[in-house]
């Protein structure tokens, strides 16, 4: 008996679908506390300390089973604020902005010591000081987020406002925009765009925001409820992460190799560039002491956000962060 064609086609599709490997069965957590950590960006070598901490068993030793989540930074903040998740990695400016909207998040560990945003131009643009931004066409992902805050901080420092230069929202296409000269200056992360552009042979001028103003940078957040009800978990999470940071800094080659297990396609990427990206990120990790954020960096950040109108009223900064868990 001959089967109708449609039945054969459906059967083939069904077989193909059934051959797709399913999600691995849920790991039995045992005594481990499961933590899903929104990272704010795609898998990347900059997360080497976290990958290292998992692979070396630092989280497991603290009773934590870590799952990486590469969703948006703002989603991470909202989920932690709503107590749907306990932790997230965010850029420093997100904390005052969120708390200004009544979101009860608390910053408990600095990951970067310096605000990682920089303005980048080809050397023929002669961008030597923030004042040289005047009259330039500046491309940035959008008028929100760390890039915008960093640029506005530099502009404030230089006494410039948005009428003194042309801001263009170009999405995350800074490398292409600068290479094609559609932007004279772009705003990006010190550990990413300048390295990518230099690898393509461009001579660059790079001004890092942190050289002009101390701003609180990327770090780990939790929420008030978790601190009140489960401070031990916060302590363990911070401790394991800090061990990961320290280990990655001391063993960069090993940390880079561990990234291969998490960053798809890393084997085929330009190894020199990727290693440089990781090393430049590591330069940013090294807060003294590890994990510490200074009151001055918080106060400066609040002032920048108030000037920008992203924060309507000052918030109580003492409630926004804590250095007690890095002890």
């Amino acid at each position: 008996m001959k089967l109708p064609k449609i039945v054969v086609i459906l059967a083939v599709i069904l077989m193909m679908v059934s051959c797709v490997p399913g999600m691995p069965a849920n790991l039995v957590p045992g005594e481990l506390t499961h933590v899903r950590l929104p990272m704010g960006y795609v898998p990347n070598v900059q997360y080497a300390p976290f990958y290292t901490a998992v692979e070396k068993g630092f989280y497991a030793e603290e009773g934590i089973e870590l799952e990486f989540d590469y969703s948006y930074e703002t989603d991470g903040v909202a989920l932690v604020g709503a107590n749907d998740l306990q932790f997230s990695l965010v850029s420093g400016e997100q904390v005052p902005i969120a708390r200004g909207q009544g979101i009860p998040i608390v910053y408990v560990m600095a990951w970067y010591s310096e605000y990682p945003v920089a303005v980048i131009a080809k050397s023929d643009q002669n961008l030597k000081t923030p004042q040289d931004l005047a009259g330039k066409r500046v491309g940035l992902p959008g008028l929100f987020g760390a890039n915008y805050v960093g640029l506005r901080a530099l502009m404030d420092y230089a006494g410039l406002d948005e009428n003194d230069l042309t801001l263009e929202s170009i999405g995350f296409t800074q490398v292409e925009a600068l290479a094609a000269d559609t932007s004279q200056v772009v705003v990006g992360y010190i550990a990413n765009e300048p390295i990518q552009l230099a690898a393509q042979g461009y001579e660059l001028d790079v001004l890092q925001v942190a050289d002009y103003l101390e701003l609180v940078s990327n770090g780990l957040i939790t929420n008030e409820k978790t601190i009140a009800e489960n401070p031990d978990l916060v302590q363990r999470m911070v401790r394991a992460t800090m061990r990961g940071i320290q280990y990655a800094v001391e063993h960069p080659q090993e940390a880079y190799e561990l990234c291969m297990n998490y960053v798809d396609g890393l084997e085929n990427a330009d190894q020199d560039v990727q290693f440089q990206v990781m090393e430049a990120s590591m330069d940013l990790y090294q807060t003294d002491p590890y994990g510490y954020s200074s009151p001055q960096s918080w106060s400066n950040m609040q002032n920048v956000l108030l000037d920008m109108g992203m924060l309507k009223h000052p918030i109580n900064l003492e409630e926004a962060y804590s250095n007690e868990f890095i002890q």
Binding site: G81, A98, Q101, G142, F144, G171
Partner: protein, 260 residues
């Protein structure tokens, strides 16, 4: 009079009632639950935010920007789809040559190529118009082809017997005959044009309703996100309604024929 009342109660009354009940349920749900407003705001909070952006003029400004992108994108998409569709409908050879490209282009998610359009065309309005046009293109193209191919061959014979010129054939036969199916494609295209423009704005823009959504998300101002999204819905409904009105006007001959 009674007939008018009955007809309009059905057409206007029930949708309005349905919307009001929906709003009421939303308000009750958000008031009784402890969901924070940055996750799911109350209708009253969204209403307050709506009033504030109307008052400061920002909603009108961003809406007009998006509307401009949508209309230009729709026009460009329509023009490209009608011209291409005509040649595809008329020539099997052209269809065989172009079909793989056209079908393949439809399998590319617009969000994946939108950043490339920003790189190629710059961050201005052009990249948004093109994302809008690209998303409009396919449904209108398909309906144009189907519409043109549905013209009965006897009518072509009739025009040939009357020695009609090519131009007369297009104007008197093909356009009217293909119009109902084409307008069906336009209905879909008009709403998709809004999505295309907003995708373009999401990638890189400093104005427009997509930008307003991004600002709302960046500031955890979820009420603002709702305001921008509802405005987009209203924009899409208005465009859809305009196409329906156009359809009623252009296809009135069908009704008359049906009644006679």
């Amino acid at each position: 009079m009674r007939y008018w009342w009955k007809k309009n109660l059905f057409k206007i009354g029930f949708p309005v009632l349905s919307a009001l009940v929906g709003l009421l349920l939303w308000q009750i749900f958000t008031s009784l639950s402890d969901i924070p407003s940055f996750i799911f705001p109350k209708p009253s909070e969204v209403w307050q935010r709506l009033l504030s952006v109307i008052k400061d003029g920002s909603l009108l400004f961003h809406t007009l920007v998006t509307l401009q992108e949508v209309i230009l994108g729709l026009a460009l998409g329509l023009l490209a789809a009608i011209i291409t569709g005509y040649f595809l409908a008329k020539s099997r050879l052209v269809e065989q040559v172009l079909a793989p490209y056209i079908v393949a282009s439809q399998s590319i998610p617009i969000v994946a190529i939108a950043p490339l359009l920003v790189i190629w065309l710059g961050p201005g309005i052009l990249s948004k118009i093109l994302t809008s046009a690209l998303i409009v293109f396919f449904p209108v193209l398909v309906n144009t082809i189907v519409g043109l191919r549905s013209v009965p061959s006897e009518l072509y014979d009739l025009l040939r017997s009357l020695h009609a010129s090519s131009w007369q054939r297009i104007i008197k036969l093909e356009i009217p005959a293909a119009m109902p199916v084409f307008l069906g494609g336009l209905r879909i295209g008009a709403t998709l044009a809004v999505i295309g423009a907003v995708v373009g704005e999401f990638v890189g823009a400093d104005q427009g309703l997509g930008f307003l959504v991004n600002v709302g998300r960046g500031l955890y101002d979820t009420s603002l996100v709702f305001v921008a999204v509802f405005t987009l819905v209203v924009l899409a409904l208005a465009l859809y309604g305009s196409v329906v009105l156009l359809e009623n006007r252009l296809l009135s001959w069908q009704k008359h024929n049906g009644e006679s």
